[in-house]
Amino acid sequence: MGSAVRFLVVDDFSTMRRIIKNFLNDLGYNHVQEADDGMTALPILKSGTIDFLITDWNMPGMQGLDLLKAVRADAKISKMPVLLLTAEAKREQIIEAAQAGVNGYVIKPFTAQTLKDKLDKILAGKGAGQQASQAAG
């Protein structure tokens, strides 16, 4: 997918959105949109202009887990890679997120290397998946 990947960063704290956006820019991803909770994120996701969702869990309005479930429930965007970037770290929560279909889970505070590793892993997996589906098609 390369640097053309279009990201949506969802977090209620503008500082965290800015940190993630800067980090993505440093990695060469220049298409980054922002939203401050699930309610504002969902219409953007449904508009079809996003390839990759990075979301916080704990937000007012619609929480990250509900946003993930909404994405998986919508046929048009259900295959979108979703990375949860959150301070929530209870075992039950991680299992719940995995069951809801999350692709990666990064705990705050995070290092640039951890975030890069997770992005690379998810994007590599998606690339392989796309190639497989193209070969099958």
Partner: protein, 248 residues
């Protein structure tokens, strides 16, 4: 407050009346029988009224003492809303400081980049004059002069930005003081709640309340706090292991 005395027995309380009832029944004296019953009913209501009055007095006394000891009204009307406003101000301060710091860092990036680019260009010029060492001074003179001027300006700006970053951290002093004040209020509220529990006869600290584990699916807990959420705090390695176990 009334002096506590040993409670009277049922025989002491109602023995005479029951005897009168029995006598009226034996004599089939309906009027007398109902008159005694009525006396008993009135006495019972009067006892209940006395008890209620005594309870009300006790409660009133306790509330008065409570109000004297703790200024709950002031706490509810002023201190708690103030604490909320103060914490919101902490949010504003930390948010502003973080943005200010990021502004400065973002401005430093291009400056450092420009110094690196010019240095690289100087290096290329030096390499291109390897075959003709005599030409070096004349070719480089202009470039070096430019570089010195630019580097001095850029380094000055970077130094200034670093000072601003340092200065932006001064929010911690203010937020620290505000948070300490709120912690002290929370301690005061805790004391009031404990006193209330004592007044209502609850066991207080012995009935240890704890936040239940995920009563609602999808609930968020916020950041793990060292020493509070110890066993549940997980680092990235734990999470990666768990995700791997789950096939992710």
């Amino acid at each position: 407050m009334s002096v506590q005395s040993a409670p009277l027995s049922l025989a002491q309380l109602y023995g005479e009346a029951v005897g009168q009832l029995q006598a009226a029944m034996q004599q089939d004296d309906s009027q007398r029988f109902h008159a005694v019953l009525e006396q008993l009913r009135e006495r019972r209501s009067s006892d209940v009224r006395v008890e209620l009055r005594s309870l009300a007095t006790t409660l009133h006394d306790a509330m008065l003492r409570f109000r004297q000891d703790f200024n709950v009204a002031d706490m509810a009307e002023h201190e708690v809303p103030d604490a909320r406003a103060r914490l919101n101000y902490v949010l504003q301060l930390t948010d502003a400081a973080a943005h200010r710091t990021m502004d400065m860092i973002e401005q430093c990036g291009p400056l450092a980049e420009r110094i690196a680019t010019v240095a690289q260009s100087l290096q290329q010029t030096l390499q291109s004059t390897d075959d003709d060492p005599d030409s070096v001074p004349s070719v480089l003179q202009v470039q070096v002069e430019d570089f010195i001027a630019t580097a001095a300006l850029d380094c000055g700006a970077i130094r200034n930005n670093l000072s601003q970053v340092m200065l932006a951290q001064s929010y911690q002093d203010l937020t620290g003081q505000i948070i300490r004040g709120v912690v002290s209020l929370v301690t005061e509220v805790e004391t009031v709640l404990e006193k209330l529990l004592e007044m209502t006869g609850a066991t207080g600290r012995t009935g240890t309340w704890r936040r239940p584990d995920l009563p609602v699916p999808g609930q968020s807990y916020g950041p793990a706090i060292p020493g509070l959420t110890g066993a549940d705090s997980r680092n990235q390695t734990n999470i990666d292991d768990l995700m791997a176990d789950l096939g992710l």
